[in-house]
Amino acid sequence: MAKKKKKKALKKKTAKKTSKKSPRKKSSTKKSTGKKSRLREMSFAASSIPKVSSLVKTLAPFSDYETRALEGIDISPESMPAPKDVPGGENEPVYSDKDQADIQGNIIPGFNKGMQEFLFFRFGKRGGARKFLRWILPYISTMEEVLKFRQLFRERRLKLGRGKAFLSSTNVNVAFSRNGIALLAGRKEAAAFGDASFQVGLAERSTYLGDPTARNSKGSAANWDVGGPDNEADMIVIVASDCHEHLEELTALTRKQAECNGMELLFRQSGRTLPGQLRGHEHFGFKDGISQPGIRGKLSDAPGDYITPRFMADDDHRRLYFAKPGQLLVWPGQFLLGEPRQSLDQFIKEDPHRQENFPDWAKRGSYLVVRRLNQDVPAFWEFAGKCAKQLGLDPTDFASRLVGRWPSGAPLLRSPDSENESLGADEFANNHFLFDDDTEAAGLKEIPGYPGDNFPQAKADFLASVCPHFAHIRKVNPRDSVTDLGKPDDNLARMILRRGIPFGEAIVGKKKVTRKEAEEERGLMFLCYCTSIEDQFEFLQRRWSNSATQPNLGGHDPIIGQNGGPGRERFIDFPLPGGESTRISIGDDFVMPTGGGYFFAPTISAIRDALAK
């Protein structure tokens, strides 16, 4: 009873807090947009768990989603006729077998495993830490190894059709914090990393990222499970596998070796792709990871042997900047230190000046950002349900406007009015759209078994009436849109390689959800690789997602955006028919950081020669 009263009081308090508008922001947007509000402004505090029965009703349709034939790995570039270089294409760097055997495989091409373990360690004595590194070195999976397995897997799948491949591999990668590097290689070497965010670490940058600061908030760095001011890890080990037994065995072995060498396991987090039909979706129910950049570069001098397979037809000029329709090509120096990197001003060109602000041994390594992000699924869907009811929309329709895609991954721009699961599953269509102009159909090479992109092409949405400016995918990937930094060329230099995986049990799609299940922790282990934490990961989070005005006026990113100011209230200007919009306040965070760290993932040779020696 006492608990109930407390909850009620909290709810009342929150409601009062959220109804208080920021006079500056309110007035600012009203004046600048001049849009009349047809509905009264809406403000919801979704801090309490909604009735489980209503939650189940909202989430149940997710169990009906089907995965379709054309997902990811099924299309094999090896099966295509006569691979050749892109006519008129850029002179891209070649990574020999030796080079590939030196770069960690989760950076390029990414493990893409449905089961992963994340082990956060603190070092004891230097000697023990180095001994552990020498032990783990042969287990570390390289770019070469991961690519080879991927090729083998594709070949097996081609032979089998959609049958189970019965192939598995187990991968390991490692990365180190600034303090970890200081202990292993000395302070001078650690100080030679020019990335100022890496130097101070995630906990110190937490308020800058808009994370909660209240002492009693789980999202406050001081309360994080790992990566807070008092529990920062020196090293992270990622173990990933298709085989549960191998995963557990290698994880246990790693823990044992670490313990024997005086290292302390600060935290362990298991990551698992969501089960069944929701494979590849995140906990709110939406397909994740569709829009990854293509990486420029080749695996050999052989014609057409690109890191990221090229599918654009020779007579489509967009072959110069798309790997497949909508997948922008980015120079590898955005993800590997010291490699040719993206020009900020020339869309398809490399910057003639390579990055140099790192110690020599760190070349071809990558910064790794890890964020353990809790997702409040009940709060998200309660918010969506309430807003949808007031606007006369279906909750899934409303929630899809927040994301910019339907749950299947189908982009609103190509299917404005309803879900289209076939479109969501079509990797040659689900990422092919522009925001500001009509999108022209893509010319594709002949792809065996692919019938062609026959979905309606996207229409110009420069007024953001279909995919709102606040929509998550429009915030973090403005594509062709101009931004606060000017030309869309710059957008390419902000892109990151995302390597996240969900953690916790899914409740979307379940026919029955108990209160206990609804209250359990779940979320996303967000991982990304980049060569400037400040200009890539932090930029996307703070400058665009957290801002109601950048890259375009229209509200905060309702999924990952955070308002670090008092009250943490966010808003979105939700578009209405006729060009008007209504402002909707969001009282609570649906996504809350609960751990993480800034790390550096060196090459194999760097671990061997500079850190473990």
Binding site: E204, T213, V482, D484, D489, S547, N552, G564, P566
Partner: protein, 333 residues
């Protein structure tokens, strides 16, 4: 929207009782737009005093105030900028010589850093006020200009300090350069240039279908603001819209991000330490960041994202600047 008969002052400023000034200012705006809309490229960037358009959307074109040219200076071949050395970029932008019309603060956003005897920052003042506004105001009412200087820059300002040898208003006077700031000094930070930006690509050649393919013709600029305005206007025009700047025409400080600024004890700094000194919320023209004097520390004792605030540029990077625009279809078309 009916024809505009008189253009307003930026943020509806009322700096003088001399009525003639407001007519003069309206004419300044009208002439600037006239010169461009009837120019060689005269196209769908329209003069709202002469062309009636049904407005379909209002959009504030926003950009980041910190100068991009410091990070990516361009040139042939492109010079190495300070992309990998932010502290050096902040320092360069802070220390640019605002007495030169070609200085680095070229994003229609200029600032002045106040320091104490120990060299710590005590205040940073940001402005988006136009040179033309002060020239027009000075011509109509010099005392009004003096009064603004005394209120916002220093009580020690004298009228004689503000004029050049021929008695005309001097944009580069000491109170607007070495000893303070009231308005832009950079010549390109002008209304004429802003209007020109919007107009110059409203009828582009060669034609382009999207912003990706528009890259080569628009590729040369090194600022954020030029492509922001160019691309957006071009995109609206190629989608069949007529475009102009919204009245009151002005360049405004639209927003700033306070998160990540922390006190010496690590707690978040209040957002209220950002103060609008001229203009209004959403249309601010002069904003200052200062720790209240009741505290025993100054701006230079704070941190931003874990780094001590040593340069005004660190705060300038938190500021968004914008120009409101409207788009629609020509009446009767």
């Amino acid at each position: 929207m009916a024809l505009t008969t008189k253009f307003e002052t930026p943020a509806f400023l009322r700096d003088t009782d001399v009525a003639e000034f407001y007519d003069n200012w309206s004419n300044v705006i009208k002439d600037e737009i006239d010169a461009e809309t009837t120019g060689q490229n005269g196209g769908a960037f329209y003069n709202p005093a002469l062309t009636e358009v049904t407005v379909q959307a209002k959009k504030t074109l926003i950009w980041t105030g910190f100068p991009r040219r410091v990070i990516s200076p361009g040139g042939t071949p492109p010079a190495r900028g300070l992309r990998d050395d932010k502290p050096a970029a902040y320092k360069q932008a802070d220390e640019t010589d605002r007495r030169s019309a070609g200085h680095d603060q070229d994003e229609y956003f200029e600032w002045y850093v106040h320091r104490n005897s120990a060299g710590k920052i005590t205040r940073v003042t940001f402005v988006t006020e136009l040179r033309a506004y002060y020239k027009t105001l000075f011509d109509a009412d010099p005392d009004a200009v003096l009064s603004i200087y005394r209120k916002h820059v220093s009580p020690d300002v004298e009228l004689a300090d503000l004029v050049n040898g021929s008695g005309a208003y001097d944009f580069f006077n000491r109170w607007n350069t070495t000893d303070g700031i009231l308005h832009y000094t950079r010549s390109i930070n002008s209304l004429e240039a802003a209007v020109g930006l919007a107009e110059q690509l409203d009828n582009p050649d060669p034609p382009t279908n999207n912003n990706f393919d528009a890259d080569p013709p628009f590729g040369a600029t090194t600022t954020a603001v030029d492509p922001r305005v160019d691309y957006d206007v071009h995109m609206l025009v190629r989608n069949g819209k007529y475009v102009t700047f919204a009245d009151p025409v002005g360049i405004y400080i639209v927003d700033w991000n306070n998160t990540g600024i922390t006190l010496p004890d690590g707690k978040p700094a209040p957002a209220s330490w950002w103060k609008i000194k001229r203009g209004v919320s959403g249309m601010a023209l002069r904003v200052e960041y200062q720790v209240p004097q009741s505290r025993d520390y100054v701006v230079g004792d704070l941190k931003l994202g874990g780094h001590p605030i040593r340069w005004g540029g660190q705060l300038a990077e938190q500021v968004t600047v914008g120009i409101p625009a409207v788009a629609g279809v020509k009446k009767g078309s």
